[in-house]
């Protein structure tokens, strides 16, 4: 983003609240506005009367939302988190803008803050928003089957309690926005580091009372997305308003310190579950409650709670589930999907159930999984659950036991016991843990694609799908090249610009490969069909006798009878004096919005082998094996890249990434000295084996691959640590697992109950 420079461009910086919760009684911008090089200092009142009482609009509305609380563009009366935007400075450069920030005087009266999601619903809890009746954003349950009967007939019931902390985005590139307004030309153009340019176009248009046709959003090459860049942010709106007011392009680049609080992050979830099982290890039912922290605002609506709820019961044939979800407000950064969104949380919950049963019945955890996994003959498998969008959840295809077998072979699970015993003789503690998951991918409704052949023979492809490193252009080009019969090098893909492709949805939830793949395939097929029909007429043969290779349409086995695709395109686009041939529309192009018929379900199994140093608590990952099934793989190298990157992110969640707030809601982790991201030195080599069970829901059999590495990772690592420390009776209730915590658990020699564990401070 910051590479883009426009003539006359100014730089912006936001003044942000230093308090987690406070009333604002006055804002004095006089001194700041007088600083040389400053062009404007804006507060909410300066943005225009229409914005004074209009908070950000909800990008993800849902009838289950009880309190739809979203921020004002700039806070005027009350701030609800550290980092909330209060004022905007626009200056010649960022250095001066930051100088001006220091000159703005704000009178704050601090208010009590609520920080721990588990306390948010206590009657004595401070309110995250002083005008709200309570901190409850929504409450609903995921229920199917007969849990009462399941628990009545159970041989064993296990109780588990755990808190999941997933950490933040921390893409290497922070967010950024450039806004430019040309009233006499195209209107508002916004470059944004967004994953969803079309969502931003829609929301921005509504927020600013502009028609969508006067708003263009361009997502350039973005340095990593991972979910938090799929939100609709105040900075996008305020920067746009500033550009409109000043009549000059305005750029805002988030710096890393801002990123810690200004970019949405996945917030904590506290789970309490009871698991009913028979004495052979079948899980008969799961019931309980989860509290999901939404942070200060409902910026993603209930998307996270739904992506947490829908994947239960994971890859297991559990027939009765009843889990109550309470979504609460706290004075912290708003909740956002972060790689995997709520799926890692759901997977972790199910894996905790499996581990509890295995521990309770003294069974091999691999065997307990084998017993409970959905069998091949059960596909397509309806879990019994209805998705919040109203549709029953059905797993389309898969071979879950096959995936487990492959992972166990790759990780030499069978040989582990020997390794563990040998290590113990050297006073070393080794452990092995499994994480299994199912991943709903490719959610609709569509992600379109246009394929157009140029008279030169180059093939131009346009799509809305924005890219943050996933290689979308590559896979789209591959599909078109294969589908149309042209060399890969002659396909040029343009993406992520609402001005170049009319409609789109966004890059989230591992949906692009599936949906754009389907649309690109369909559009290429349409272009192919048209080219064959034209060529058949031109060459006076039957279309069935023709093939397309290297961009040339020719009669099979008679290469002299041919016509290049470029020539076809040329003849279909005559100028004055020419004519479009009878029966044909102009141009050699097609647009398709064909999408997957439903969300295909990928699945995977991760196996982590670790060593724990019981004196220091340090965990070293010795070996990490992944078996993954994303149906037909468009580009195996890209799939591997997504898996490896995803696993490392998941290991980061399991062992390192912790965003700490104190009781007043002050973030304690505000630089990379404190917030630990995975480095190359601590990460293992990751071995991968693929399985391909194509999806019946789209012609190419595609399933998404972007998050499958992350989803079961924390579960596998935590289970491995517990396995290593079995002789100490260690059961882990909180992740990330720190060395200090492990030493405490080893010393205590007893299972850990999560009661004391704070989302805000590491367990005492």
């Amino acid at each position: 983003m910051d590479d883009i420079k426009l003539p006359g461009m100014l730089q912006a910086a936001f003044l942000r609240s230093p308090h987690a919760h406070a009333r604002i009684s006055s804002i004095d911008t006089t001194a700041a506005a007088q600083l040389e090089g400053v062009h404007a200092v804006l507060t909410l009142d300066d943005l225009g009367p229409e914005h004074a009482d209009r908070p950000m609009l909800q990008a993800y509305p849902n009838p289950r939302i009880k309190q739809n609380i979203l921020p004002h563009l700039l806070a005027r009366d009350e701030v609800a988190l550290v980092g909330q935007t209060v004022a905007l400075v626009v200056a010649d450069n960022r250095y001066i803008a930051e100088d001006a920030l220091a000159l703005i005087e704000v009178d704050y009266q601090p208010l009590p803050a609520v920080v721990d999601c588990r306390k948010a619903l206590d009657s004595a809890a401070p309110k995250a928003h002083s005008s709200a009746p309570n901190n409850l954003a929504a409450s609903f349950s995921n229920t199917f089957g007969d849990t009462e009967a399941a628990f009545k007939h159970a041989d064993e019931v296990y109780e588990i309690d755990f808190l999941q902390h997933r950490g933040g985005c921390h893409a290497t590139e922070c967010r950024g926005v450039i806004a430019q307004y040309s009233p006499h030309q195209d209107g508002l153009t916004l470059w944004s580091s967004t994953q969803c340019p079309y969502l931003i176009r829609r929301m921005l248009a509504r927020q600013l009372d502009l028609p969508e046709s006067r708003v263009r959003v361009i997502a350039p090459n973005v340095g990593g997305g991972f979910g938090p860049k799929a939100g609709f942010y105040v900075e996008e709106v305020v920067t746009a308003i500033a550009a409109i007011k000043l009549g000059r392009p305005v750029k805002w680049i988030e710096d890393r310190r801002e990123h810690f609080t200004a970019t949405n992050t996945q917030r904590d979830q506290h789970w309490h579950l009871d698991v009913a099982a028979d004495n052979k290890g079948h899980i008969l039912g799961v019931r309980g409650r989860a509290i999901l922290d939404s942070g200060a605002f409902l910026s993603y609506g209930l998307l996270l709670p739904f992506t947490t709820l829908a994947p239960l019961p994971g890859p297991y044939a559990v027939e009765a589930v009843n889990v109550q979800f309470d979504v609460v407000f706290t004075n912290t950064t708003p909740n956002s999907p972060v790689r995997g969104a709520g799926r890692p949380n759901a997977a972790y919950a199910m894996e905790r159930c499996i581990e509890a049963v295995a521990r309770g019945l003294q069974l091999d955890p691999a065997e307990v999984r084998r017993i409970n996994l959905i069998k091949q003959e059960q596909f397509p498998y309806a879990t019994g659950q209805i998705h919040p969008n109203g549709r029953p959840i059905v797993y389309d295809s898969g071979d879950y036991i096959g995936t487990l077998d492959k992972a166990m072979a790759l990780g030499d699970y069978a040989g582990f016991k020997k390794r563990q015993v040998a290590a113990r003789q050297q006073d070393r503690y080794l452990g092995i843990g499994i994480g299994a998951c199912v991943e709903d991918t490719g959610v609709g409704p569509y992600e379109g694609c246009t394929v157009r052949v140029d008279p030169s023979g180059e093939v131009l492809v346009e799509s809305g799908a924005a890219d943050q490193g996933q290689g979308h252009r590559t896979i789209i080009a591959q599909i078109v090249a294969d589908g149309l019969g042209v060399p890969f090098e002659r396909v040029h893909v343009t993406i992520g610009d609402t001005g170049k492709f009319p409609q789109g949805v966004g890059t989230i939830g591992s949906r692009v490969g599936v949906n754009v793949g389907t649309a690109a395939n369909d559009a290429a097929a349409s272009v192919r069909k048209k080219a064959l029909e034209f060529a058949a007429k031109a060459l006076e043969v039957n279309a069935a006798e023709l093939e397309i290779e290297a961009g040339i349409v020719r009669v099979t086995h008679v290469p002299e009878m041919s016509i290049a695709l470029g020539e076809v395109a040329l003849r279909l686009t005559p100028m004055t004096g020419g004519a479009v041939p009878e029966g044909f529309t102009p141009g050699l192009e097609a647009t398709s919005y064909a999408a997957s018929k439903g969300p295909p379900h990928a699945n995977g199994v991760n196996i982590a082998e670790v060593e724990v140093d019981i004196d220091t608590g340090k965990v070293k990952i010795l070996r990490y094996s992944v078996a993954h099934d994303c149906g037909t793989m468009i580009n195996p190298m890209i799939v591997d890249g997504q898996l490896i990157g995803g696993v490392v992110h998941g290991i980061g969640n399991a062992l390192f990434e912790q965003m700490i707030y104190d009781e007043a809601g002050q973030p304690q982790t505000t630089t990379y000295a404190d917030y630990l991201l995975p480095l190359a030195t601590e990460m293992p080599r990751i071995d991968i084996v693929h399985q391909e069970t194509p999806s019946p829901l789209n012609p190419l059999g595609l399933k998404g691959a972007g998050e499958g590495g992350t989803i079961p990772a924390a579960a596998a690592v935590v289970a491995a640590i517990e396995n290593a420390l079995e002789s100490f009776g260690v059961v882990i209730g909180y992740y990330p697992v720190t060395p200090q915590r492990l030493v405490e658990l080893i010393t205590a020699g007893a299972g850990e109950r999560c009661v004391e564990a704070m989302s805000t401070t590491p367990p005492a």
Binding site: Y95, D427, T616, D662, P739
Partner: protein, 292 residues
């Protein structure tokens, strides 16, 4: 995250530097910049003046005179790591330096910068503590020497006057044959030490300890020599029981607590690392590979 405005100075001679320090108010010295620049970028520090001393050649040297290893304050960590003089005279420093940041930061970071910044975890401060190095300061009234045990006055506050600069560091080397070790616990490679232990150890022909120095960094605001433990080790045989006893004693040290790391954990780590350091130093002293 851009620095606030300041006036920049880049003297080329130490006398000019001393004169400048007396002239300006609210100045920060820029040495390697690996600690100062982040604080300027984050606006944690807003000095009126930044005095860049990277051009003062006289502050960059490594020399050995008998049993004194003399190092100029601006000597880069990279150069210390690559120096043959340091390798033969003070190998424990090179072991410690492997833990200091990353090679990119060591290309700029300096010995003097680390000692003046005085982060509680600083490995180079631990080395200075291990030898009770002699620090030479230069000011408008001339030079004065401060032994390292009098150098840290408080958390990240060295015994350095506002118009003084650290000129050089003298490590009094051990004459007798001895072994060395430096062990550190960090969450990830290159991170700040949670606890680090440096050890020098000499044994006699029968395997009894004749001299030992043990220093712990990261447990408290400054590196601590474990003088009680050191004393108790003299005359002891180098075996498991001795090391276990030393570890237990070390684990009683005065430790600090913060948002991330508890006092108890620092103590546990100190004990564990002291044991490992003693084992490694013994192996280094005797040439016999460590057993654990």
């Amino acid at each position: 995250m851009k620095p606030a405005p300041f006036t920049y100075h880049d003297p080329e001679h130490i006398d000019d530097l001393i004169a400048l320090l007396s002239e300006v108010d609210d100045a920060k010295i820029l040495a390697g910049g690996q600690s100062l620049l982040p604080m300027l970028n984050l606006r944690f520090l807003l000095p009126d003046h930044v005095i860049d001393i990277n051009k003062i050649q006289a502050l960059q040297f490594i020399g050995r005179q008998g049993n004194d290893l003399m190092i100029g304050a601006m000597t880069r960590q990279k150069d210390l790591l690559q120096s043959d003089t340091v390798r033969s005279a003070c190998p424990v420093m090179q072991v410690a330096l492997q833990y200091v940041g990353h090679f990119q930061t060591r290309n700029r970071g300096t010995l003097g910068g680390s000692l003046c910044h005085l982060d509680p975890s600083a490995e180079l401060a631990a080395i200075a503590s291990l030898y009770n190095a002699k620090l030479t300061l230069r000011g408008p009234d001339g030079s004065r020497n401060v032994n390292f045990d009098e150098w840290p006055l408080a958390y990240m506050t060295p015994n350095l006057g506002p118009n003084e600069v650290l000129e050089k560091v003298n490590l009094p080397l051990w004459e007798e044959r001895h072994g060395h070790a430096f062990v550190e616990f960090q969450r990830r490679h290159g991170d700040f030490a949670i606890v680090a232990v440096g050890c020098l150890l000499a044994v006699d022909g029968s395997g009894s300890i004749t001299r030992v120095a043990l220093t712990v960094a990261g447990a408290n605001v400054k590196p601590q020599r474990l003088t009680t433990t050191e004393t108790a080790l003299i005359g002891q045989p180098t075996n498991t029981a001795t090391f276990a006893a030393a570890a237990a004693e070390a684990a009683k040290l005065d430790a600090m607590s913060d948002a991330y790391i508890s006092r108890e954990y620092r103590r546990k780590l100190a004990g564990a690392l002291v044991k490992r350091a003693l084992v490694a130093a013994t192996a280094s002293a005797t040439g016999v590979p460590a057993y654990a």
